[in-house]
Structures are given as C-alpha cells and as structure tokens.
C-alpha cells in the first residue's frame, strides 16, 4: 500500500525536476527522461509489486507537463512497464545491466512513439534529423542518468517494500 501511496509524491517531485532541470540539460537537442528512468528502476526491483501505479503516476505528471497528446505517455510507459513485466518472468534477479538494457529499449520506444504521434498529428519530421539531433543524444543522456537513478530508486524501493515483507 505504501508503494502505491508513495508513487504520486515521488513522481510530482521528479516531474518538477524534469521540467526545471533536466529539460534544460541538452546534448544537441536531446534531453533525459527522468520519469522513464524512475519507472524502469522501480519496476525492475524484485521487491515491488505495484509498479503499475508508478507508471500511471508518471504518465499523469508527464501528460500535465508536456504538449504530447494525453495518450502518448500512457502508451510509452505502459509498453515499457509491460516489457519489464515480461523480463521479470525470465530473470529472477534484476542487475544493473538489465537497467541499461531497458533504458535503451525505453528511450527508443519513447522516441519512436513521440515521433510517430507528432508525425501523424502535427507535422512531418525529418527522421534523420530526429535520429541524430534528438533520439541518439536523448538515449546517451538517459544512459548516463540510468546508473545514479538505479542506485537511488533501488534503495528507496528496498526501504519501502521491506515493510511489506515484515507485515
């Protein structure tokens, strides 16, 4: 229960950091997606059972902050969460290498869906330009940020979900 209750406040704080700090840190035109990394790190932790609440909270916050149509982030985070759920059936331990793997997958899914939505609903975007100026730089930033986020969220998840084990 604490896991579900803690999701929204953590995501609100992360959303504030995302809009004020991480949206300003650029490599070319790419920027990191802190919310995506938090969802990945939380969902990968073997102790968590309600990681869907973190994905939903993250999607709500990002939908509020971003001009991407409302279904965009629900789709992105939903697919990433399902992918992690799929991985959890094969791996009983979730090491750091898996965090990096899912970060690559999540970043590509995020970029692909954003590109698709904007390409269809707004304007044609040059794919090569998007790939070199946005997608690859964003992926690089996400990978750089993945390790500290994994360390932080893993500890937080273990602390919050330990109480559940005691109960």
């Amino acid at each position: 229960m604490l896991e579900v209750l803690s999701a929204f406040p953590v995501m609100v704080i992360a959303g504030i950091f995302q809009a004020t700090v991480f949206s300003r840190i650029h490599i070319l035109n790419g920027s990191a997606d802190l919310i995506l990394l938090i969802i990945i790190a939380w969902s990968l932790n073997p102790n968590t059972s309600f990681s869907w609440s973190w994905a939903v909270s993250g999607a709500i916050i990002m939908t509020y902050l971003s001009a991407i149509p409302f279904y965009g982030y629900f789709l992105i985070y939903g697919i990433v969460w399902l992918f992690i759920l799929f991985l959890k059936t094969f791996f009983w331990q979730m090491p750091l290498i898996l965090m990096l793997l899912v970060t690559i997958f999540g970043s590509l899914i995020s970029a692909g869906i954003s590109y698709g939505i904007l390409n269809f609903s707004v304007n044609t975007i040059d794919f090569n330009l998007a790939l070199t100026q946005i997608i690859i730089p964003s992926l690089t930033l996400n990978l750089l940020l993945a390790i500290p986020v994994y360390g932080l969220l893993n500890d937080l998840a273990s602390a919050i979900c330990r109480r559940k084990d005691v109960e």
Partner: protein, 276 residues
C-alpha cells in the same frame, strides 16, 4: 689619627666605590658590565620563555575554543552575506529583465501585458514549449501572444488556473505570418524539431539578403503586427522552386528565457470557418 687608623677599611672601600663610579661614568667599565649582565639576561629570557610556555599550556586551549567559536560565528556571517549577495544579484537580474519588459510595454501603449515567470520547459525533446506561472486566474487565455522586449516568443497553448503552457515559435508545429522589414515581402516563419526557424513561402520575384529583420505581419489574425522575430542568416533560393526560404537568427534566446509578457488584450481571429 687614631680614627683614621680605625676606619681605614671603610675609607678604602669608599675610595674603591668612588673609583668604580668614576670608571663607569667615563665608560671604561661598559664591556666588563656587558659580559657580566648578558648571562643574567639570557637566564632571564630562558626562564621567561619557559614560564610563557607553561602559561600558554594552561591558557591556550581556552583561547582555541573561543577562537573557534568566533571563527564559526564569522563563517556563518560570511555565508549569510554570500547568500544575501546571491539573492541581491538574482533580484538585480530579475529587475533588469522586468525593466526591459516594462520599456517594451511602454513602447506599445495600445497593448496591455501580463508579466509571467518561466517555470519550466516541456519534458519532450521533440517539442518546444515553456511553462509560465500565470493562468486563467490572472487573465491568461488560450492563443494569447507571448513576447519579450526582444521580440516574439510564441502563443499560449494550454491554460490552467495558475499556470499556462506556451508554444514557442521554434516549435515544429509553429507557424507565424511574417514580413521582411523595409520591403513589401510576406512569408511564413516555421519552427523545427531542432529549434531552428526559417522564413518560407517567400515569392521568388523578391531579393532577400542576410541581415534583414523579420517581423510579424499580423495577417491571419494570430499575432499582433510589427513584433520582431529575428534576422535573416542564409537565403535558400533555387530557380526550380516556387518559393524561396531563409534561415533566421531568432531575436530571443529561447534557452535562457526567464520572464515573458503575455499580450492580454489581443484576441486572435478564428478564420477557420472562412477557409475553403
């Protein structure tokens, strides 16, 4: 005679004393005195130093504590003053920006403005939007133009009670009807995913050159006329194309926006029903 015989020792001593005084006054005893006094002074110095060391051994720890506490208090004061300096510098920067915005607003008295702080950016790297701290409670409405003292910023795209989202002119979906200042040349300024802006749809019959200023034309009714957008950098003119285009250097640095003005009395025209 008898008295002299009885006191001869005293008389000799007196004469020796007188002689010594006379020798001392005449300076003949200086070197002898120095050689006698120096060891005494050295001894006194040695004793004094030891006494000082012993005294300090008992008293300095107390002084160190008091010095440390004084040092801590001074450091706290320095930190406080540094914080105040940073705060004042920040206030000064904000005041500069607000003065500039005020100057711009005074230069266009026909329009009313709502000043707003920039509180965030769109998290998606594909989009160029900013978040401002004023919303419908402050009179902000959908589609209102947003400017700074340097030029056009964009338009309000979404509004909540206390905040609003502004689409920048550098966004991929942004289109602004524009004109080149000093010439009768119309075009459309378009953003891109890389935040570069270009003026397009410029007729081939005109000659445009780098350095020319581009402003809003007011056509279409989405933005007020005569707001600066940027200056022309490179012209792209191909003979086999219907229109020429040019890349622009925006007049505003969109990465470092801190405060903006929302044009409150401008109501964009909705010409969609008139479109064929």
């Amino acid at each position: 005679m008898n008295m002299l015989r009885n006191n001869w020792r005293r008389i000799v001593l007196f004469l020796i004393a007188i002689g010594m005084v006379m020798l001392a006054l005449s300076g003949y005893l200086t070197s002898t005195m120095e050689s006698l006094i120096d060891p005494v002074i050295q001894l006194q110095t040695w004793v004094s130093e030891r006494v000082q060391i012993i005294y300090e051994f008992f008293t300095i720890p107390r002084d160190v504590v008091s010095l440390r506490s004084e040092n801590q208090s001074l450091q706290n004061q320095v930190s406080l003053l540094q914080t105040q300096i940073i705060q004042l510098e920040q206030d000064l920067r904000e005041a500069d920006i607000l003065y500039s915005l005020l100057g711009f607003a005074r230069g266009r008295p026909e329009e009313t403005y709502i000043a707003a702080k920039v509180i965030g950016r769109d998290p998606s790297p594909f989009l160029q939007y900013i978040l401002i701290d004023k919303g419908s409670d402050d009179g902000i409405a959908y589609n209102m133009p947003v400017v700074t003292e340097k030029g056009l910023v964009g338009r309000v795209d979404a509004v909540t009670a206390s905040a609003a989202r502004v689409q920048l002119i550098t966004d991929n979906a942004a289109l602004v009807n524009s004109k080149i200042v000093g010439e009768d040349i119309d075009g459309v300024v378009r953003g891109s995913v890389t935040s570069d802006i270009t003026i397009e749809m410029v007729s081939q019959e005109y000659t445009i050159e780098p350095g020319q200023t581009v402003q809003t034309s007011g056509l279409g009714g989405n933005y007020p006329a005569d707001i600066t957008i940027g200056t022309i950098l490179n012209v792209n003119k191909l003979e086999n194309e219907l229109f020429q285009s040019a890349s622009l250097q925006p007049s505003e640095d969109f990465m470092n926006l801190t405060a903006v003005l929302v044009v409150a009395n401008f109501r964009p025209s909705n010409i969609a029903p008139l479109m064929p």
